[in-house]
């Protein structure tokens, strides 16, 4: 399997604090890798390092076999798309205009012939066609997130990096976004997706990387990583995993007051 994106020994310091600590991670073609972990574990930071937004204090990132920084910005944009968490558009462009902007990297390139088809496909993937002519600034948060997803989908890159693409979406669209991403991966693409919902991670990931305080606590197929003891420790909350009816692990979270699980360093009464 070809490794398309590789982080080696990546560390990031922010204001003297180490938010990522020696992370090694490979993404292979045809693979969907999901990053999970509690708040502040470094998921978004890792994704921004993989995207090239943030230069790691230590370690390197390789894209298609060459150091990420050695690729021209325009070439990077043809190899990987990035969907960030916040997608605020500063002028009232229509949804169609915004999705079309996803095609910008392909200007003066043979693939520009696919522009219209790619925009149509992407608007269908994000289910934004119904409000394609509305200003993106006039949409609800979830609709705006879908427009942003459609824009990154229209970019049609082999590698997709998505930071919490399901955060403000309803159930239908959470699954739709991940299913469309999954389709791309099955067709030979690759994706790194940050998710909070362990159930979604279990359902769509080929591999899950569980981050804890800037390090990878576990990485592997969902069945291996979604271990009750490991999750309970990392999330500091009782978590159970059972076999689901369709073979995917089901994550059960007890509504127990978090205070009943001791924090690290906290004395148990």
């Amino acid at each position: 399997m070809t490794v398309v994106l590789r982080a080696s020994g990546v560390s990031v310091d922010v204001g003297g604090r180490r938010v990522l600590d020696g992370v090694d991670l490979d993404l292979a073609a045809g693979e969907m890798l999901v990053l999970v972990g509690p708040n502040g574990a470094g998921k978004s930071t890792l994704l921004s390092v993989l995207a090239g937004d943030r230069v790691p204090s230590d370690g390197t990132v390789d894209l298609d076999g060459a150091v990420l920084g050695s690729w021209p910005v325009a070439e990077r944009a043809r190899r990987r798309s990035v969907l960030t968490q916040s997608n605020e558009v500063s002028f009232p462009f229509t949804v169609r205009d915004v999705v079309r902007m996803g095609r910008a990297p392909w200007r003066r390139h043979p693939s520009a012939a696919r522009d219209e088809a790619a925009v149509t496909d992407a608007m269908a993937a994000g289910e934004v066609t119904a409000f394609a002519d509305r200003a993106v600034t006039a949409l609800s948060g979830g609709e705006r997130a879908r427009a942003a997803f459609a824009r990154s989908f229209a970019q049609e890159c082999a590698i997709a990096l998505l930071d919490e693409p399901t955060a403000s979406l309803d159930i239908r669209h959470q699954h739709r976004v991940l299913a469309r991403t999954r389709d791309r991966v099955n067709a030979g693409g690759a994706a790194v997706v940050v998710l909070h919902d362990l159930g979604l991670a279990a359902a769509y990931a080929d591999r899950i990387a569980l981050l804890d305080a800037g390090r990878i606590a576990a990485v592997g197929p969902p069945r291996d990583v979604l271990e009750p003891a490991l999750l309970t420790r990392v999330y500091r909350h009782p978590i159970d995993v059972v076999e689901g009816p369709r073979g995917t692990p089901l994550v059960i979270v007890d509504p127990v007051a978090p205070a009943s699980v001791p924090l690290p360093g906290e004395r148990t009464p």
Partner: protein
């Protein structure tokens, strides 16, 4: 979630109409027609009145002379009516035409600078006058007058104006942005600070200057196209041409920048380079406007905003439309300035501020109401 900088446009259905294919040519044709009519009317108006047919006749003869001089006599047109008044031709060519051309160039430059500034600040309230670029440029210009600087010949004043404007915009840009965008309140407060410092420097130069120099400095603060000479145009025209052309090249990338700086970079835009180019272009255009005509405020705010309401926010259309719209506004304002009070001349900067001030206030209120705060 912080609210979007510009909230849902009521003009949304209009923006949709832009795609029907009728609106865009109609807007450009309307603006061009308005500009031509205004130029002809304005050229004929004043203490010495020249009827429109004679103005057109004079333009036609000048055109014929021009095309024959470059060996393209085949393009010549019917000569048209002769100018009857004995001083008509002289008034037209020595006073009114250079002044009109200056209004066209300055209006286009200010409006284009406004569009680029709003795009790069990602804030629809950014404007050269509001955030202090104009006063920075005026500081440079008044310094060159008061100290009688001429180390670059006739270019000294525009170069110093450019330097002053550039310094001001770099200060504002560096201090008003956070996380790749500019909060309205930060932008306005930074503008107040820069304008205060610029005002103090101009006051100092006014204090130091001779009576004649003071008069020149006062002219800037009011803004005027009075006394424009062909020599001035020879300086301003190339700057404006280069600046506006550069804007047109930036327009596609400015669209992407509306998505956010990181997002634009993910789409292949070299954001850092785009910013530097945009800032230099804004300073160039503002300086082209300020160097000879002083502070003519709010053109860069009102015109792009109106055009955005009609054509939508896409910069490929917004930029040329705003440039033409800026020319229309300034030619019209200059016509009013020259003719409203018989025998005297109103400062054009006062007129644009009279329209632009309340407009800015309305925009501020609307932005605040829609985004639920001063974000």
């Amino acid at each position: 979630m912080s609210a979007s900088l510009i909230a849902p446009e009521r003009a949304d259905p209009l923006a949709r109409g832009a795609r029907t294919g009728v609106r865009v040519p109609a807007v450009f044709a309307g603006l061009t027609a308005a500009l031509v009519v205004l130029v002809v009317v304005s050229a004929g108006s004043g203490q010495l009145s020249i009827p429109p047919d004679q103005v057109l006749g004079a333009f036609a003869r000048a055109w014929n002379d021009g095309v024959r001089a470059i060996g393209l006599g085949i393009l010549s047109v019917a000569p048209g009516a002769a100018v009857e008044h004995v001083n008509g031709e002289a008034t037209l060519w020595l006073i009114r035409v250079p002044r009109l051309l200056m209004a066209v160039l300055v209006g286009a430059s200010l409006a284009a600078a406004g569009v680029v500034m709003q795009g790069v600040f990602r804030n629809p309230l950014a404007e050269p006058g509001v955030i202090g670029i104009s006063s920075g440029a005026a500081v440079g210009a008044s310094a060159s007058i008061v100290f009688g600087l001429s180390f670059l010949g006739p270019l000294t004043l525009p170069v110093l104006a450019f330097a002053g404007g550039l310094i001001a915009i770099v200060i504002v840009y560096a201090s008003a942005r956070a996380d790749g965008r500019t909060e309205v309140v930060t932008l306005v407060l930074t503008g107040i600070a820069v304008n205060a410092v610029g005002g103090a420097a101009i006051a100092l130069f006014t204090y130091l200057g001779s009576t004649q120099q003071r008069e020149q400095i006062v002219f800037w603060q009011l803004g005027s196209l009075n006394g424009t000479r062909w020599d001035d145009l020879a300086v301003v025209a190339p700057i404006a041409a280069v600046g506006i052309t550069a804007c047109l090249f930036l327009s596609g990338r400015l669209d992407l920048l509306a998505l956010g700086e990181r997002q634009a970079e993910h789409l292949g835009v070299r954001v850092e380079r785009l910013r530097v180019i945009a800032i230099v272009v804004i300073a160039l255009l503002t300086c082209a406007a300020v160097a000879f005509c002083g502070i003519i405020g709010f053109v860069g705010l009102v015109v792009p905003h109106l055009m955005r309401m009609v054509l939508g926010p896409g910069h490929r259309l917004l930029l040329p439309a705003s440039a033409v719209g800026g020319s229309v506004l300034l030619v019209a304002a200059d016509l009013v300035a020259r003719t409203a009070v018989p025998g005297s001349e109103l400062p054009i900067g006062m007129l644009t501020a009279l329209i632009g001030g309340p407009f800015f206030f309305w925009l501020l209120r609307r932005t605040r109401r829609r985004s639920g705060g001063w974000g």
